[in-house]
Subunit: 318 residues, 2 copies
């Protein structure tokens, strides 16, 4: 299959390698032309997942990538540019979104910004560093177009990367966005050295919050117990490489959000998504105390106040 992967961050690069390993003809399209040149010259991504060997993958700047002729366009760009990038794609090839976030301007799910072509989303517990090291993983592909979902499944699935099909696009996409916000809070618990018990309690309450929000938006409860929900939330909240977790840890230790993002050097989607998710919750009239707390801290409130408030609420029924 001819496939263009748009976005040469760590996850786009890792998925390009998975597709290349499955025998597809892969172009990895970078927003930065110099980065594309470097990938073609050195066979490595100069910025992300340097362990990944790009042999057999052609890199190109986005405008030069063969998008019109592609049978599949995989989009892995930050949420803040997702809308612009997909609206500028020529042709009508189907799109698979790898981006985990919401449109920062409208709060829309990113797949809804893909117009006039079939769209699917791929999500799950997939820390890119592990994938390029050849470690096994599993993910979910969701689409309203089940024929497309199965085509993506067949294209990506391998003995090391299991892909399951789902028809719950709303659930998979909202899980993918919300888990980064909960992971910021989990990182905050790490930064305050609160221990694994309270972090696990926080993450369990966080999943409940994600589920309340997404169910009211039409998602299926099952999705939250699955790979794209609980699976991805756990790995994002516990993996030392999880960038949202790490950002929360740095912020809890005194860094400003932009300082944390700068130290991590990759897009920290949770920082963008938190206020967008809070606004969505307000519109849906759903209580999201952890997301509210994350937003308050990002806006300058002391984290210790938040912990004290959460722990001193009256005891209730679970």
């Amino acid at each position: 299959m001819r496939i263009v992967v748009v976005g040469a961050g760590s996850w786009g690069t890792a998925v390009a390698c998975l597709l290349r390993d499955n025998g597809h003809e892969v172009t990895l399209a970078a927003r930065d032309a110099a980065q594309a040149d470097a990938m073609n010259t050195t066979g490595r991504n100069p910025r992300y997942v340097q362990a990944a060997d790009l042999a057999g993958i052609v890199a190109a700047p986005i405008p030069d990538a063969p998008v019109v002729d592609a049978e599949l366009v995989v989009v892995a760009v930050p949420s803040r540019v997702f809308g612009d990038v997909v609206s500028e794609l020529p042709g009508d090839s189907p799109v698979v979104s790898l981006t985990k976030g919401l449109d920062p301007t409208t709060g829309a799910r990113l797949s809804t910004l893909v117009r006039n072509r079939p769209v699917a989303v791929l999500s799950g517990p997939t820390i890119a560093d592990e994938i390029v090291r050849g470690l096994p993983a599993a993910a979910v592909v969701a689409s309203d177009d089940l024929e497309l979902a199965v085509r993506v499944q067949v294209a990506v699935h391998s003995v090391l990367f299991r892909v399951y099909v789902s028809d719950d696009v709303v659930g998979v996409e909202l899980c993918a966005a919300a888990k980064n916000v909960i992971a910021l809070a989990a990182g905050g618990a790490d930064g305050l050295s609160l221990g694994d018990n309270s972090k696990a309690a926080l993450v369990a309450r966080g999943l409940a919050e994600m589920r309340r929000l997404a169910e009211s938006a039409g998602a299926r409860p099952d999705t939250f117990a699955g790979l794209a929900g609980m699976g991805d939330l756990i790995v994002t909240s516990w993996s030392p490489s999880g960038r949202n977790r790490r950002a929360g840890e740095l912020i809890a230790r005194g860094a400003k959000p932009d300082e944390a993002a700068a130290e991590i050097g990759m897009v920290v989607e949770g920082l963008t998504t938190a206020p967008v998710l809070r606004d969505l919750a307000h519109r849906l009239e759903i209580e999201v105390p952890i997301t509210e707390g994350v937003c308050a801290v990002l806006e300058g409130a002391p984290l210790t106040d938040l912990v004290t408030t959460l722990m001193s609420r009256a005891p209730t029924t679970e």
Copy 2:
């Protein structure tokens, strides 16, 4: 309140301290008389959670503990002796079970072995080492007798240990038993260095397996997303101190199950529970592939065969 905690392992000792901190009159009853003597002499438990200061707690051998006069009897003994211990308790004071397992002979939930007195169960992500270090945590108390559940909640709840009430005894108790089996598998993933992605996928599938089993036994789905389900499963599967996780890791690295248990030096409930849970699943006609895999490995099958089998199944719908 006058309370006797029966069982001076790490969790019984930690809960005795929580109750003492809340102003209760606490006796910590040990199965081993020498251990009780040592606790009274030194103010420390000689075997478990040595960091815990037992000041204000009276230790006693079980037959000498004031069980008849207690307003609450907290039982924290290994599952294999739970039935004998509770059947020998004098009086009719209510019992709170802290034990996470099933009756090894009959597969019964442990609380059903408590006859002729009210019973509640307390569960959640509560690694004892963290509790005695004063780190915050949260748990669930479940009972068919809601008045008892609330009494236990009030007795145990504090600013550092939040307690929620539930009426789903079946769900809380089956979660508590099954999570140790899934944690053995998660430890196996650690022992094989499979990475956090696949471990998170395994644990998410493990929670689905726990839920299928317990729902068919009458539990509520909500419990699995809560503290006693997902919360406890995560901490048991990720905490370096988790003894079931650690046992799985040692077994994956070549130890026999009894060697792993000996090295850990504490009861590893998952080793006892796995075959009992499998038999329960067979009786209920529920598929539990992870539990089956754990049992096969405990019975001597090579772990690598299991991983290969799980990863090479045909791709499906989630």
